[in-house]
């Protein structure tokens, strides 16, 4: 372990969004996502507000646009599913060129694509600006059970170790002339996965012994000083989510 806390989605920076406490960002993300999901998809003004809120947060986060767009690609399998809906959807249908598209299917596709993309975008902004210990501390502050956050932080701490071990096994196999084929591929790969499980589990036992030897009491120590969150920080962090919440409420009332 190199001591770096950066994870795959994190983008180092010192923007206003980076400096907000994790708890505030997680709460804001949750409220924003709920507001987006609750909005009737055909009420376009509210959707425009949600997009504007997301773009404002993106601007303040100073994340590079290319980075943001690349991370949005997680969305693709469900976008494909959504694009399929107008083709197999129920009546009534409209003719677009040589295709006959289902109107409920089109609405459903629009709904899924826009909401999923906004949700992924908001998660990317929070993930991109928050380091892992900050996320874990935030979850704890938001009353997620201690045991759960401790498991999460131990997982995150060893994710790269286990992943790298897997990569090394793969490189070792390739160095010995193992070539990836489908069914033939499955067996040696899964055998090394079995070995990886044994190593992970045994590492877990050693980690526990080391923790117990150092007087582990059931709570992971947090090495960083984290003062109380000021009302101002809560207000700044939650403001964009509040705007979306108002938009969602207005949309629900007006439709």
């Amino acid at each position: 372990m190199s001591g770096s806390h950066a994870h795959a989605l994190y983008f180092h920076g010192h923007s206003a969004v980076h400096r907000l406490p994790g708890a505030v960002k997680l709460a804001a993300l949750f409220v924003y996502v709920l507001a987006v999901v609750a909005t009737p998809p055909t009420f376009f003004p509210a959707m425009v507000v949600h997009v504007a809120v997301l773009l404002t947060a993106l601007a303040f986060s100073e994340l590079p646009v290319g980075f943001f767009l690349r991370r949005l690609l997680v969305d693709i399998p469900f976008v494909l599913f959504a694009l399929f809906l107008p083709l197999v959807g129920t009546a009534p249908h409209i003719e677009v060129g040589f295709l006959s598209l289902s109107v409920p299917g089109l609405y459903a596709a629009w709904n899924i694509i826009v909401k999923a993309t906004l949700g992924v975008g908001a998660s990317v902004i929070v993930g991109g600006t928050t380091e892992v210990p900050e996320i874990v501390a935030g979850l704890e502050r938001l009353r997620v059970p201690r045991l759960m956050t401790a498991i999460i932080s131990s997982m995150v701490r060893y994710m790269e170790v286990v992943g790298d071990e897997f990569k090394r096994a793969r490189i070792a196999m390739e160095a010995r002339g193992f070539r990836a084929r489908w069914l033939g591929h499955a067996r040696p790969l899964a055998t090394s996965a079995g070995a990886l499980f044994i190593r992970s589990y045994e590492r877990g036992e050693r980690v526990y012994q080391a923790m117990a030897a150092r007087g582990f009491t059931g709570h992971m120590p947090d090495l960083e000083e984290r003062g109380p969150i000021s009302p101002g920080q809560w207000a700044t962090g939650l403001a964009p989510a509040a705007v979306s919440l108002v938009a969602a409420a207005a949309a629900l009332l007006l439709t």
Partner: protein, 322 residues
Amino acid sequence: MHIPDGFINLGTSAAAGVISAATVGVSLKKASQEHDRIIPMAGLTAAFIFALQMLNFPVGAGVSGHLLGGALAAVLVGPWVGTLVMSVVLIVQALLIADGGLSALGLNVLNMGIVAVWVGWLLFRGLTKALPKTTGWAIVSSMLAAFVSVVAAAIAFTIEYAIGGQGGASLSTVLTGMVGVHALIGIGEAIITGVVLGAVLAVRPDLVAGVEGVDLAPTRSAPSARAVWAFVVGGMVVALALVFFVAPLADPDPDGLNFVAIDTGFDHTEQPSPIDTPLAGYGVKGIEDDRVGTITAGAIGTVVVFGIGLGLVALVRRRRTA
């Protein structure tokens, strides 16, 4: 299988969130009674499942079949820790790589962390007790448990879609598609689960929670290539059987699953075909009976997807060798 935000409506997501939170709460209690070492053990098993999910096997165009690992986690560390492990993986995926929506976290935990884990666990325990107690049969049981757990998660998804989905497609279309595709993913899941379990049983059978109290006579540690092929063929047969028997169940009586009005349901013959292909609207041209039509379409679709999967693998393999 990772549901994004907005795919299922808020009420259904919230209900699933409550069920999942309660189950995770009970699992936390049960698991910490089982071991005192729960934090590093569950954390490292979660890191292992996370690494394993990076193993992608191609299923067909646009479908990345990656291991879910629910049944494997259940068999290796038991259902309580298994649920915790899967939930932690899903939380980290939602927060750090934006895979699976935060508002849909409850749904994802329910499908992959609870349904898949418990179906896999109960089936594996039942089978290992009923079948001859050898390592070979334990591996076969785990493969079946893994296969069924993936299909069960797909069915759970379809039920959620029926309750709070964004409509558009008829329920039977979604069910046929989800179950068909996941039957194929299930084959890959079964192979990986079986071989991983075989490798662990060969070296450290004491680490496998699923065979606790079962005295296994050792046979060979991992299935041979022929056994794997036999399983693939068997899995195809089961996949087709599912398309034949499960898919039509939804049509004659949509009320069973259906809480939202799915208006036209199955009247594809009276609608203009969306696109003029032989499988348009999931009905085969020239077949009058709707139900037979869907089954045939589903079956052909399953075989075609499987064929595309094999074809893509062949292509990738050729390019790598070239």
